[in-house]
């Protein structure tokens, strides 16, 4: 089989503190790194650019979902076969990218999600693990997404075919649920693999979860 081109999309907003470390760790493991600087007011753009990777710059902050879709569209334009979504805050491990990409390369899956709730142990904050995640699973079930151990995984790999179909319309954090919904709706073959998440900050809070539900509701009405 000919080598498939793997692009890693890293949306970044004011991540000057982490972006160099993240890009340096990911760059040797993929064919192209695409950093989407989402209107940062710090030196994220320059720091990413110094690594000689592709850096796309949003003129104004549009949200993580918008950044990922910008990266996806760029990847499609430049013939990517597989796209990996990776966070700029350094909470994912670059060496686990191969675990996400492998099932797509072998033809086993179209979309692979990293899960914090499988064999590998992530030090997930208590409230997140026992309150927010169960609620997120309930919302996902309501949206027709079932059987996922991790309801809000941001570490994922998608085949070109999936990227073409799964257009991210939620600019904000609701994109996690949106991607899952569209992946299930299009009957793509899905696989979850265990991944590690390093929590330095709490991440999405309860209020953020409410915003996600509101965002999904509004989008359903206008689309």
């Amino acid at each position: 089989m000919s080598e498939l081109k793997v692009f890693c999309i890293i949306p970044a907003w004011n991540e000057g503190k982490n972006i160099s470390r993240v890009v340096a760790s990911v760059k040797p493991l993929v064919d192209a790194v695409v950093v989407v600087d989402d209107g940062s007011s710090d030196d994220t753009y320059d720091l990413a650019n110094a690594h000689g990777v592709v850096v796309l710059r949003h003129a104004t902050n549009r949200g993580q979902g918008a950044g990922l879709q910008t990266g996806n569209e760029y990847a499609l334009l430049f013939d990517a076969d597989i796209v990996v979504h990776f966070d700029a805050d350094g909470q994912f491990l670059a060496e686990e990218i191969k675990d996400l990409v492998e099932p797509i390369k072998s033809g086993e899956a179209d979309v692979v999600f990293g899960s914090r709730f499988m064999e590998k142990k992530s030090d997930i904050p208590f409230v997140k693990k026992y309150v927010i995640m169960p609620l997120a699973r309930m919302v996902n079930n309501f949206l027709g997404i079932s059987g996922m151990t991790d309801p809000q995984s941001g570490f994922r790999a998608l085949s070109r075919r999936a990227i073409e179909k799964v257009l991210i319309e939620h600019d904000d954090m609701a994109h996690c649920s949106e991607i899952l919904m569209k992946v299930f709706k299009n009957n793509f073959r899905v696989k979850e693999v265990p991944t590690t998440v390093i929590y330095e900050e709490f991440g999405q809070r309860f209020g953020g979860g409410i915003k996600i539900i509101k965002s999904i509701f509004i989008k359903k009405i206008i689309s």
């Binding site: 592709v54 796309l56 949003h58 918008a66 879709q69 910008t70 600019d171 509004i218 206008i222």
Partner: protein
């Protein structure tokens, strides 16, 4: 009676303002017609407030005519806020599309 006079004066003020805006082409024709009807209907409602009182009482409402008009106004306002929220969402989405296109087209330029 005094309350009716105050209300009619306020409506007259908005009607003059509307005519002034139309004369200076500050509002579109459709918008002008909408507000003209809105204020005229409001004036009619105030002039015939007793009849409206009787009508709402006949419909089984416990409040006076003006109270029922207020309830309706609040409901309409909520509807407009909802419409505005949807329109804002659409504009946000359009801004993202423009920002994205610029980002991709400007790749490599600084």
């Amino acid at each position: 009676m005094n309350q009716q006079l105050i209300a009619l004066t306020i409506i007259a003020f908005f009607l003059f303002r509307l005519a002034w805006q139309k004369k200076r082409n500050k509002i579109k024709k459709g918008e002008f017609i909408f507000w003209l009807f809105f204020w005229l209907i409001s004036a009619i409602a105030i002039l015939f407030i007793k009849k409206i009182d009787a009508l709402v009482a006949g419909l089984g409402f416990s409040g006076s005519g003006i109270e029922v008009l207020l309830y309706i106004a609040v409901a309409i306002l909520f509807y407009f806020i909802f419409r505005l929220r949807l329109r804002l969402s659409k504009i946000e989405s359009d801004i993202t599309k423009i920002v994205r296109e610029i980002a991709i087209n400007n790749q490599g330029k600084k």
